[in-house]
Symmetry: C2
Subunit: 159 residues, 2 copies
């Protein structure tokens, strides 16, 4: 039943209306490149999620916030796939996991050295550029251990 390129493309798009992809052509292209570079198959779901995550500005998402967002965009992706994708992207170095809240995991599109404000009332993360804060005199780890990284979280509340 597939007769030509246009039909094939529509078919490949599956359940999505194609609206999201049409709305963000360069995002999709960049996403495609990013996935290819990481050896991840460019599936509809990964392209949509990458499109939302890597639009240029840095983002902090939870599995649920990203799932809500992609769902609101009219794209059907299961929550399991959102979790899978966040972990795969993290494994590929496209995302970083941030632990600040015992009740849920955040993922950060900014994988460079930087720190965070964590707004405890609202559960929001705000970047602090990597050059801003200086952490000095970090002691040598106990024998047999090596520093993986140093996290600084500035917990803030309503004044």
């Amino acid at each position: 039943m597939v007769r030509n390129m246009r039909e094939a493309a529509r078919h490949a798009m599956g359940r999505t209306s194609g609206r999201a992809a049409e709305r963000d052509p360069q995002g999709q292209a960049a996403a495609q490149a990013r996935l290819k570079a990481s050896g991840l198959r460019p599936t509809r779901q990964r392209l949509e999620l990458a499109g939302l995550l890597f639009q240029g500005h840095d983002r902090h998402v939870t599995a649920e916030s990203l799932h809500d967002e992609v769902t609101r965009a009219g794209v059907k992706v299961s929550l399991a796939t959102v979790y899978n994708t966040l972990h795969q992207f993290t494994g590929a170095g496209l995302l970083r996991q941030v632990v600040v809240d015992a009740s849920r995991s955040y993922f950060d599109t900014n994988v460079h050295d930087h720190q965070h404000f964590f707004h405890e009332d609202e559960g929001r993360l705000i970047d602090i550029p990597g050059e801003t804060i200086a952490v000095t005199n970090v002691p040598t780890p106990p024998d047999g251990l090596a520093v993986d990284r140093v996290d600084v979280v500035v917990r803030v509340k309503r004044a």
Copy 2:
């Protein structure tokens, strides 16, 4: 049926054999004082848990590790009570909660300003004295927010 002080004391001890209390007389006394100072009733469970937690050296426990420990000591305390107690002690300023692992909460008997090594392979926390690490140039929080505290976690792995 309670005839004298000795009997009364045994009765008050409830289901415990009294072994734990006998093993740690000063711990119990200190615990009693600590609870009184915090306005918490000195129940058998709180005294046992305080006895284990505040023995002098600083400790990092999870609800489950503390529950295992108190259980192994032959004292019957429900996990719900361990959770309740950890939160009450935290509210009273006797403990501090430490967020380093998305999968469980740690409680720290050292409530003074200090930082941590977190051994990611084993899930263990190691104190870094408060005067050791210096964090400078922490930026001013966004408007309407105030710094609650600054956490530094030095994540370490097997070398």
